[in-house]
């Protein structure tokens, strides 16, 4: 490892622009003639649109255009779609209701876009939006998935009877029933995974520009995957053919899943730009983000786990209701199915599993993948069950887990996944040691002396990253392949550009991807530029989510680097009159092994482009492209231990220690990996203690601003103790597993296990706010 190579703690190249205010986010973009948009949104959760009167708005100062869904339909703009087909257990396809980018006949959640107003200034657009008169006939709304299938519940889409989108299952029901028949103990729980709002700090934004001269569209958008946006907008929404549509995702201020999806606004801004003849920019305010960004989680689950007399797991039964909101967002169907139930084996040997998932429409914002996407929900079920089982059996939670760990690899679970490598006991041991687990009793006694209840809880999570083998996901219903592309361009002076289909919105790719090149060719990272986020520059890519940029994106770069290296060695061998097999790359030069004969990297590059003296038949230039399709998922895993102190008088919980021991496989930059863990932990702890999206029964979002939705702040969190072990992933050339989501996946059950341990009551909902904890303490004392 060099000082800038793989494994080095290199400070980030991209930081310079962010710390000096020179970052360029969509809202910072200015195009000549650009005007501003505001959307008129439904104030009702469910209503028929009787009449839209735009006359008054059209006459307002500065107004350029006021456009409706009927005009959008007339121009042939298509409905939004979900790109992952799920079949119910009876074989029928999922029931996808129509989602027009601008609603024209019916609105189905508060925030549903109905009209776009384009005006000279943002203020004028908003003033005019308020003057649009829409007559609604209100309909009954339902917000709770558990009530949406009841008799008499409002029917949200004609396509989905009883609001049921699909009724899907996985695993083997008969084997599982048989396992329960042999059980000595059965643990049963009802578990709610609370609804969350992703809240990337940069609100979503779109700038659509139609160039009449070229008949060409450009869209600047807050996207984690601009190529997917272009593909979907082109193939399904009829905005423009791909060759006439450029999508640029410049600096993007956080995503966490919420910026994967193609939303109505970018489609409508592009269309409105053509209609009005001006570039149209829209930037969400925070309340619009709360109302319309795809939410996360919102599962209601009943789970039962069967154990033999020695506390070995025999089987698992899970029934989950997943609230998908008013419309099916782009990957909404995959999240509660293949990203959730396939991880229900946890880190454990479980011979039989059966899970049933019902996906349900409600009059709420669409729900889709949010950091972890299904895996936090699975982990919460598994790790609450394991902790509860240990308490019921009166055994050590650590030892119950250890007894049931998978220890031989590869390990085929009953729910599709085949774990390739791991050492779960190593992470458990590391976390127990770092947390001084053995000394807990002493600390608990000391807390008791202060009148505080101290508790400890753990969580041993596993997740699947590096999504995913294209053929495998295709067979499971995905509408796209999940490979990644890379192009490595060596310039004539030896500097390098890497074009990647991955997209960085905080992950530090400009640094870590350059480290990869440095490791291979010895070129300083300042001489390596990472190009991403522009469909005109990078040919094609699938983007960044599911912790895939390392395992898949970097693997594509490695493949391209392999090709560059092979050609570079051929050129060097020719120049040095040596055998190609004898050439090594060291300290920025290509050398004949065991001799002092060498050609510096930049001279080799220059030779490739002057082409005065190349091996016979070789094409000039040095630029290689690769597509990498993974052979398997990767399986990061680890153990988190949380220690809390609860004030029984107030219910206030303080996290006094949080330990994370993760196995991410090989690591490119430990500093960045630790940062990813910290951020994930904050989001997971936020879910456990603070965050929750709440609708009232009429479908109004009560938590639609930072005054009402509790974001984790610095004072809510401790400093974290993080460590990593690395069992290399055998499935990709770098041995990387991925680290972006682990923190958010593993931490909620650790926190809840700790609080329930402290208060001596196992019944506690997330978020465990002071009032919830206080009520749980009171309820437990009453018994």
């Amino acid at each position: 490892m060099g000082i800038e190579g793989v494994g080095a703690r290199v400070a980030r190249k991209e930081d310079k622009r962010f710390i000096t205010g020179a970052g360029r986010y969509v809202d910072d973009m200015v195009v000549p003639g650009m005007k501003h948009a505001a959307f008129v949104r439904s104030p009702h959760a469910h209503a028929q649109i009787k009449k839209i009167d735009v006359k008054k708005a059209q006459g307002m100062p500065g107004v350029i255009g006021v456009l409706t869904g009927k005009e959008l339909k007339a121009d042939g703009i298509g409905n939004l779609i979900c790109g992952w087909m799920i079949h119910s257990k009876d074989g029928s396809p999922m029931k996808m209701g129509a989602w027009s980018p601008l609603a024209f006949d019916r609105v189905r959640y508060v925030g549903d876009a109905v009209v776009i107003v384009v005006a000279e200034t943002k203020g004028q657009a908003r003033d005019a939006a308020e003057a649009v008169e829409i007559t609604y006939k209100e309909l009954k709304a339902v917000v709770d998935a558990s009530k949406a299938m009841d008799k008499g519940a409002p029917q949200i889409h004609p396509e989905a009877d009883n609001n049921l989108i699909f009724d899907w299952d996985i695993g083997n029901a008969d084997d599982t029933a048989a396992a329960f028949g042999k059980a000595a103990h059965v643990v049963k729980m009802d578990i709610i995974n609370n609804r969350l709002v992703p809240n990337a700090m940069e609100p979503r934004a779109a700038l659509g520009h139609y160039d009449k001269a070229e008949d060409h569209y450009t869209c600047w958008t807050t996207s984690q995957n601009p190529h997917v946006a272009r593909l979907v907008m082109s193939a399904f929404y009829n905005v423009a053919p791909e060759n006439k549509l450029r999508v640029i995702a410049p600096d993007v201020g956080g995503g966490f899943g919420s910026k994967i999806y193609i939303y109505p606004e970018e489609i409508v801004c592009l269309w409105a730009s053509k209609k009005t003849g001006v570039p149209v920019k829209w930037v969400a305010d925070r309340t619009e983000s709360f109302l319309t960004d795809a939410h996360g989680r919102d599962h209601h689950t009943h789970a039962e786990m069967a154990f033999d007399k020695d506390h070995r797991i025999l089987g698992l039964k899970v029934e989950t209701q997943a609230n998908l909101g008013a419309y099916m967002s782009l990957f909404s169907s995959a999240t509660p199915t293949y990203l959730y139930a396939t991880l229900l084996s946890g880190q454990y040997n479980i011979p039989a599993i059966h899970a049933n998932v019902k996906a349900i429409y409600t009059n709420t914002a669409p729900v889709d993948a949010y950091r972890g996407a299904g895996r936090p929900e699975a982990t919460f079920v598994m790790e609450r069950m394991m902790e509860t089982a240990a308490r019921q059996f009166g055994v050590s939670p650590a030892e119950l887990r250890r007894k049931n760990f998978v220890t031989a690899f590869p390990h085929q679970t009953p729910v599709i996944m085949c774990y390739d490598a791991g050492d779960y006991a190593a992470s458990l041991d590391a976390a127990m040691q770092a947390s001084d687990y053995a000394g807990f009793a002493k600390r608990k006694a000391a807390a008791a002396n202060k009148g505080l209840l101290r508790g400890i809880g753990m969580s041993c999570y596993i997740e699947a990253c590096g999504i995913a083998p294209s053929a495998a996901v295709g067979s499971l219903g995905a509408g796209v392949g999940l490979w990644e592309s890379a192009e490595v361009r060596v310039n004539a002076v030896g500097t390098i550009e890497v074009l990647t289909g991955s997209h960085s919105h905080g992950q530090g790719h400009e640094t870590t991807f350059a480290q990869l090149v440095n490791e291979r060719f010895g070129v300083p990272i300042d001489s390596v530029s990472i190009v991403h986020g522009d469909t005109d520059k990078v040919q094609m890519g699938m983007g960044t989510y599911g912790s895939r940029s390392g395992a898949v994106g970097m693997s594509a770069i490695v493949k391209a680097l392999d090709k560059v290296e092979a050609k570079a060695k051929k050129i060097a061998a020719h120049l040095l009159e040596a055998d190609e097999g004898d050439i090594i790359i060291e300290n920025g030069a290509l050398k004949v092994a065991g001799t002092d004969k060498n050609v510096p990297w930049f001279q080799m590059a220059l030779a490739a482009y002057t082409a005065h003296n190349l091996p016979g038949g070789m094409e000039p230039g040095l630029k290689e492209t690769a597509f990498y399709d993974p052979s398997n998922f990767t399986f990061p895993a680890g153990c988190y231990i949380c220690e809390v102190e609860v004030d029984p008088e107030t219910g206030v919980t303080e996290i006094v220690q949080f330990v994370a021991a993760d196995d991410f496989g090989n690591i490119i930059n430990p500093m960045i990996v630790e940062g990813q863990v910290h951020g994930g932990l904050a989001q997971g702890i936020g879910q456990a203690l603070l965050e929750g999206a709440h609708y009232d029964n009429s479908g109004q979002l009560l938590t639609a601003s930072y005054m009402d939705y509790t974001m984790p702040r610095a004072g809510d969190l401790p400093s974290f103790k993080v460590s990593t072990s690395n069992t290399p992933c055998p499935g990709n050339p770098l041995g990387i597993k991925g680290c972006g989501e682990a923190g958010a996946i593993g931490s909620p059950p650790a926190v809840i296990n700790a609080i329930t341990d402290a208060i001596g009551s196992n019944d506690l909902a997330m978020p465990a706010s002071p009032s919830t904890v206080w009520a749980a303490i009171r309820a437990a004392t009453k018994h």
Binding site: A11, R12, E14, D15, K16, R17, F18, I19, T20, G21, A22, G23, R24, Y25, D27, D28, V30, G123, N199, A200, M201, E202, P203, D251, V252, G253, G254, F256, V283, D285, R286, T287, H505, G506, Q507, G508, M671, I672, E674, G675, H678, G679, G680, L681, A682, Q683, S705, Y706, M707, M711, P712, R713, A714, G715, L717, S719, F720, G743
Partner: protein, 165 residues
């Protein structure tokens, strides 16, 4: 419309703004200083923190006309030419940023915090004083570390400056 005249990052600037224009929008849209960000509508997130007459202020809580006549420092004016301010340098060194969106506000808050605590800072104080700034990426761990490190550096350099004097 009103005339707004300010000293921003050492330069005198003026322009006309609607009475309802917030300082943050004047900075971003009239002056093109897009380093100051808007992350919410309720003065909660702190992405828009700038210094007005030497104090950290959320520039979304102030009308541009209210700020007229004031001296404003934004993230663009913090570094001394090519030399980063110690807080900027510490954020880079300690990985105190990921997506970068909250970063300008964090840095402007931190420089104000450090100057108000010449005696030095501890972790609890830093965490308490970051109450008005939300970050979704870092879990604050490295932001706290960066601010503590910068505080130490700046205290040290002041001490040295004093000694030299």
């Amino acid at each position: 419309m009103s005339d707004v005249s300010l000293m921003v990052n050492g330069k005198r600037v003026s322009g006309a703004a609607e009475d309802r224009t917030l300082l943050v929008h004047f900075l971003r849209e009239n002056l093109g200083l897009t380093g100051t960000h808007v992350g919410c509508d309720t003065s909660q997130c702190g992405a828009c923190v700038v210094h007005v007459d030497g104090k950290a202020v959320k520039s979304c809580t102030m009308l541009a006309v209210q700020a007229s006549g004031s001296t404003v420092l934004t993230i663009e004016g913090l570094a001394n030419g090519a030399d980063l301010h110690p807080v900027q340098a510490a954020f880079k060194e300690h990985h105190g940023l990921q997506c970068g969106f909250c970063t300008p506000g964090m840095i402007m808050t931190a420089t104000d915090m450090i100057s108000r605590h010449p005696e030095g800072l501890d972790e609890a104080t830093v965490r308490a004083e970051l109450d008005g700034n939300i970050c979704r990426c870092t879990g604050y761990h490295n932001i706290v570390k960066a601010i503590l490190a910068a505080s130490k550096t700046m205290k040290g350099s002041k001490g040295k400056a004093k000694q030299a004097a």
